[in-house]
Amino acid sequence: MADAGAEQARGLAVRVAVVEDESLMRWMVRKIVEARPDMRMVHEAAGFAEGRDLVQPGTADVVVMDIDLGDGNGVALATLLQQRDPRLGVLLFSSHDVLDLVLAVRDTMRRPWSYLSKKSSLEPVTLARAIHATARGEVVLDPELVGKATAREGSALAALTQGQMKVLRLVAEGYSNAYVAEALQLSPRSVENHLHAIYKALDIPTENSNPRVMAVLAFVQQSSRY
């Protein structure tokens, strides 16, 4: 939560928009966002058309987007919104496991999306962490699905050591390096080292603008949750 604190200190509360057709769900997201000083709710839309009209470019940092909207689908809307505003972060949430959508949209959108299941989104800490990390340009995955994922046989991911895998799982859940170090009782320096080893093993060039995101996407691609 260090980064969030920094943003807040600079007076940059993350501006959140939510598009969700179930009013109860919308209300819960608002409650969670409003309870935190480092975020504020700027738009609430109940469907595709309303979301398209409300979330104008430059007015929000992250949109929390349900996939099944009554009058259209959330992926199409998020694509549209992000085309209008490339700086908008997208956090999908759905009751289905559509984690692979994160991969699917990667090719079309410049900025990859995050994904939380509806169940996890109801945990205030998880939702807040996902919103902050998404605002920073990271990809956050549903913690429960990350926990279930196992590396596919023969993949580069399967070749990671247990320690590296632990670090990558936490990164995929949207945790900062400082938190990872604390949780795994490592020094920040060795977390860095682990990350570099991971990039190398997954064949991600470190001069890439966002190796962290690439590593998380590789994690999705090379793992199975079934």
């Binding site: 992926v75 199409a76 692979d100 699917a104 949209v105 090719d107 046989e153 199975s224 079934y226």
Partner: protein, 411 residues
């Protein structure tokens, strides 16, 4: 196939376009009648003209009064050879079957022959002047009468053939649509049965058990007072919550996937990735796309592929992957979505696996069903062995020009 011929050679007679025999015979009879009426009219005109010429002839060449039998003879000399020529062309040879070149060749020789016979007949009647120009004009008249008569008949035949072919196509289209509608109904019924069976079966059973456990728990709560009972209750509640979650995860989600695979409303690629993500960890898959597919056919904000087609492609991939794992023990499967511009523009799905390859004499079942569905959309399916080992499955789905009608984005 008949349509192709006509489309590629528009100048040619619609060979083989006639799908129904009795229609064709009827048209041929019509052409014959039309041709005969034509030559009859021409002969009448010729005889009439000759008679009037006889009367008005002011040159003094063998003038005789135009006896009625002579007029009749001239009429017959006109009618019989031309009529025979028409019968030969339209009845014996049946020139309507052929292309223009052959039609012309037959027509020219038959017309020339009939014209010659006609001239000879007229000459035996000795009523024509022996002037060369007169002979040439008479010969040309004989040829023209036959050519015109037959051409008119053929024109009528061709126009009729086109109309009949269009009618037949329309009827076929209707039959196909009806068949498709019937099958769609059947498929829907099958899905309903399956869903209902699953609702009645496992889901209902599990809910019954859960209800029972909850009731027991509530009875325990009413009577129990000790701390031990409370501890037991907490554990049991926790277990119940887990069980409920599993019901949601397993039964409800699978059921909803059976109804409509997740993501299919969003786009083909999204649905594919979600479906492939479900594979066990022993299999790795990759999806590649031609850029044109991404930009034109399957952009998430404007998908141009009908949902039914996406479902079909998804089923092909699911069957292909299942086969590769089950029969070929494959470890990696590469899925490629592309567009193939061959005789027509078609969407293609290609699955390459690294399995054991094709066993000879394999009996098809799942693939046969898919092939049938694809054929109904004008597509095809082929399974072949790859030279580097493993199998390749290719499905081809022609792209309708109006594929854009399914604007899924805002629905």
């Amino acid at each position: 196939m008949a349509d192709d011929v006509a489309a590629r050679a528009p100048g040619l007679a619609p060979v083989g376009r006639m799908p129904r025999r009795e229609d064709e015979r009827e048209a041929a009879r019509r052409a014959l009648a039309l041709g005969l009426v034509n030559v009859l009219a021409a002969s009448l005109a010729a005889a009439g003209q000759w008679a009037s010429w006889r009367t008005e002839n002011e040159l003094d060449i063998h003038v005789t009064s135009p006896d009625w039998w002579r007029v009749l003879a001239v009429f017959a000399a006109n009618l019989v050879p031309s009529g025979l020529a028409v019968v030969v062309c339209l009845r014996w040879v049946g020139v309507w079957r052929y292309g223009w070149r052959r039609r012309l060749a037959v027509l020219a020789s038959v017309a020339a022959a009939s014209s010659l016979v006609r001239l000879l007949l007229l000459a035996t009647l000795r009523y024509s002047p022996a002037d060369l120009w007169f002979v040439v004009v008479e010969a040309a008249f004989g040829v023209l009468a036959v050519v015109l008569a037959v051409s008119l008949a053929l024109y009528d035949f061709d126009v009729g053939a086109e109309l009949r072919a269009a009618e037949v196509r329309r009827r076929e289209e209707e039959a196909r649509a009806e068949q498709a509608a019937r099958e769609a109904q059947q498929a829907e019924l099958d899905v309903r049965r399956d869903v209902s069976r699953r609702l009645h079966g496992s889901l209902q059973q599990r809910l019954v058990i859960l209800t029972h456990r909850l009731e027991r728990l509530s009875a325990m709560g009413a009577s129990g007072d000790g701390g031990g009972a409370r501890d037991g209750m907490a554990d049991e509640l926790r277990a119940l919550a887990d069980e409920l979650d599993e019901v949601r995860e397993r039964d409800v989600r699978e059921l909803s996937h059976a109804l409509i695979p997740v993501g299919v409303d969003i786009g083909l690629r999204e649905a594919l990735m979600i479906a492939l993500g479900r594979l066990p960890a022993t299999v790795s898959t990759s999806v590649t796309l031609d850029p044109v597919v991404l930009e034109r056919l399957d952009a998430p904000d404007r998908p141009h592929m009908a949902v039914a087609d996406r479902l079909l492609v998804l089923d092909v991939v699911e069957e292909g992957v299942t086969n590769a794992v089950r029969h070929g023990s494959a470890h990696t499967i590469a899925v490629h979505l592309g567009v193939d511009v061959g005789a027509d523009v078609a969407f293609t799905v290609t699955l390459d696996d690294d399995g054991s390859g094709l066993a000879p004499g394999a009996h098809e079942s799942g693939l046969a069903r898919l092939r049938e569905r694809l054929a109904k959309r004008g597509g095809s399916l082929t399974l072949s062995a790859r030279s580097e080992g493993g199998c390749r499955l290719v499905a081809r789905l022609p792209l309708a020009v109006d594929a854009a009608r399914d604007g899924g984005a805002t629905r």
